[in-house]
């Protein structure tokens, strides 16, 4: 792979992420892409714990932990203060999980984006409330087991499309990215850095613990999500211009579902339904990008 990435690390080892934690990989990439002139707002999420307990922190940049709902709002305040101090170089980044973005944090995010606050909001998505023990969020995909969607009550609602929700705000820049495609992810982070106003990155960050897969499969499973069009890589500028970054060979979704413990209960029929949903969503995305299936 050809990536131009600084050799510098902005994290220390010794953090308490699970072995194979996709969120740790995502953080490492984003920090490297943004550099040291950044401040991070971190509402409650796995990383609130991963960062380590008082008096330590795994992050070498300034961080403010904040309450669960407040990712968008706290960042707005940090940005306003920096502006008042005349600091035009420091990037404000909110680093939130899917809970703090899709659900409890959605209001603050929507408010901040509607005001076009000048910050980058990064949602690392492990598709459930993992920090509190694998409970369902609106980001949990259709078909998944979680502790609050157990047994036959597996999640029968679709995964909320957060990027589309923000695109409706005419956000200057929104993009999806995956830990399995680092060049694409880093390019998008660097592109986001150069844009003013609200920018949103939705990073697919696999969770071996919550998805019941072996830790060594974390990157591979993220790659499979992209290759099956379950998690397409695309960008939207100004809420209008769609660019699809990768058009994979359309691998069937079956393989992706079969190797994850959280999907073990799905029957062949369920998988057919899911395949159709994925195909329809992909066709919709193509239309938005002005292309045809």
């Amino acid at each position: 792979m050809e990536i131009e990435l600084t050799e510098r690390e902005f994290m220390y080892p010794g953090h308490v992420g699970c072995p194979g934690c996709g969120a740790a990989i995502a953080m490492r990439f984003v920090l490297k892409a943004l550099g040291e002139k950044m401040m991070m707002v971190m509402p409650a999420c796995c990383w609130s714990v991963i960062a380590g307990p008082y008096p330590t922190s795994t992050l070498k940049i300034p961080v403010i932990h904040s309450a669960f709902e407040t990712g968008g709002a706290t960042a707005s305040g940090v940005r306003a203060a920096l502006d008042m101090k005349g600091d035009t170089e420091t990037t404000v980044v909110t680093w939130a999980g899917d809970g703090g973005t899709f659900d409890i944090g959605f209001q603050a995010l929507s408010g901040a984006v509607e005001r076009n606050e000048d910050f980058i909001y990064v949602c690392y998505d492990n598709e459930a409330y993992m920090n509190t023990g694998i409970q369902r969020s609106s980001s949990t995909p259709y078909g998944a087991w979680t502790t609050t969607t157990p047994g036959k009550d597996w999640k029968k609602m679709r995964k909320k499309n957060i990027v589309e929700a923000l695109v409706a705000h005419r956000i200057p820049y929104a993009a999806t990215a995956s830990i399995s495609h680092p060049e694409d992810l880093i390019r998008k982070v660097q592109k986001a850095k150069s844009i003013k106003g609200s920018r949103f990155l939705h990073i697919f960050a696999s969770c071996p613990t919550g998805w019941k897969i072996p830790s060594e499969m974390a990157v591979k499973i993220a790659r499979m999500a992209v290759q099956t069009n379950i998690f397409p890589l695309y960008e939207v500028e100004d809420g209008l211009h769609y660019t699809i970054n990768l058009k994979p060979k359309r691998f069937p979704v079956r393989e992706y579902f079969k190797i994850q413990g959280r999907f073990q209960h799905l029957t062949d029929q369920d998988l057919e339904v899911i395949q159709k949903m994925v195909d329809d969503d992909w066709a919709l995305l193509l239309r938005k990008a002005g292309e045809h299936a």
């Binding site: 904040s66 407040t70 305040g77 203060a81």
Partner: protein, 389 residues
């Protein structure tokens, strides 16, 4: 300079004089005028500050926590439901040791919707680690707001300046508005003890295990205690420049009083009128106005009430399942004194019900004519309301 200002504008002017840098507010009656004035000052350049038009009060406090942590002076105002919504983050602001100042307009809590004065909203936040001042008039609001910044920054705890809905927020009064130069002499520019700084990175608010959390809370408790002494020193400085002081409590005619009213907010000014009337008729009434509620000025209260034969606390609030909150706190202050007067608790003026001189007289006579309180709290002025269910 003497001006006639609406109470809300008095707040806004004090915020301007304090050179606040980031304001974030969400409108709720009857705080709206404060927000509108500040919005206007920022837009016209009368104030050099950023105004964040957040989408809820919870986000409001979150934004200020973010801004203050980045090293600037901040302000917000809210009321009733808004304050209740902020509750989680009030705890956060004090735990984070951020000297945020907030104007809180006392308003009743829903349901049903009631925009009028009631102290339950602010008192329900008495455990959050915020310093609380209850103001009687617009002058006090201006002075207290300026002092609030100095006090907050000296102990690294946030301060709530509480004023009554409509009676203060929407009433025009003549006030002596300080000049900017005087205000600057009293209150220097903000210097943060700690801030988010790329040159000196650190992490605020990490996971804290039981081994150290207790010590952090103790530090806050100690800071609250210090706030009490600091306030007196700050009032000294304020008096030197502006010629005014208020005290954590104000004891009016308490030395020879047999019955002492304990009041707060605008009820105090009504009580002053009733005091004059009753004293003129030979009744030995005194008033103890409580301005500083948190930290609770135990010693001042014990001292002021030492000679009283009876204490009548007037609460424009209620803690369900217990009693009026000021009464609870006064009882607690007195209970370990060797000798203390019985404390009669009265509930009046709930949800904007007027506390007239007649109401206060009723309270006086009830107190005088009963040897001991008939119950924990006596509700004054209850009516039989008969409308269909």
């Amino acid at each position: 300079m003497k001006q006639v200002l609406e109470g809300s504008q008095a707040v806004a002017e004090a915020v301007r004089l304090a050179r606040v840098q980031v304001i974030s507010a969400y409108p709720i009656t009857p705080q709206t005028h404060i927000v509108e004035f500040l919005s206007d000052y920022c837009a016209t350049g009368k104030m050099n500050a950023k105004f964040l038009r957040v989408e809820s009060e919870h986000s409001c406090m979150a934004a200020l926590i973010g801004a203050q942590s980045t090293g600037v002076r901040t302000f917000t105002a809210t009321s009733g439901q808004g304050l209740a919504l902020m509750h989680e983050l009030l705890h956060w602001a004090s735990g984070a040791r951020l000297p945020i100042v907030m104007a809180e307009v006392n308003r009743a809590l829903a349901p049903g919707w009631n925009i009028w004065v009631d102290q339950t909203d602010s008192l329900a936040q008495r455990d959050t680690g915020w310093i609380q001042f209850y103001c009687e008039d617009s002058q006090e609001v201006i002075d207290t707001t300026l002092q609030a910044y100095k006090l907050a920054e000296s102990v690294a705890l946030p301060v709530m300046v509480v004023l009554d809905a409509f009676f203060l927020s929407h009433t025009y009064e003549p006030v002596d508005l300080p000049e900017q130069e005087e205000a600057d002499r009293f209150l220097p520019p903000y210097e943060a003890r700690f801030e988010l700084d790329t040159k000196n990175p650190c992490t605020f608010g990490p996971l804290v295990p039981p081994a150290v959390y207790m010590e952090m809370r103790h530090d806050m408790a100690a800071a609250m205690d210090t706030a009490l002494t600091n306030f007196a020193r700050i009032e000294d400085e304020f008096e030197q420049i502006f010629g005014r002081r208020y005290g954590a409590v104000e004891a009016i005619a308490c030395d020879d009083a047999e019955i002492v009213f304990v009041t707060s907010g605008t009820v105090t000014s009504t009580a002053r009128l009733v005091l004059e009337n009753l004293r003129a008729r030979g009744e030995k009434l005194g008033i103890l106005k409580i301005k500083l509620f948190r930290p609770f000025p135990f010693e001042f209260i014990r001292k002021a009430l030492k000679g009283a034969k009876k204490v009548a606390v007037i609460d424009r609030n209620f803690s369900f399942g217990a009693s009026g909150i000021f009464a609870q706190e006064v009882r607690a202050a007195l209970c370990n004194a060797e000798v203390h007067a019985p404390v009669f608790g009265y509930i009046a003026g709930i949800g904007g019900r007027d506390v007239t001189p007649e109401v206060l007289e009723e309270i006086y006579w009830k107190t005088k004519n009963n040897a001991v309180p008939e119950r924990e709290s006596v509700w004054i002025g209850l009516q039989e309301v008969r409308h269909g269910n």
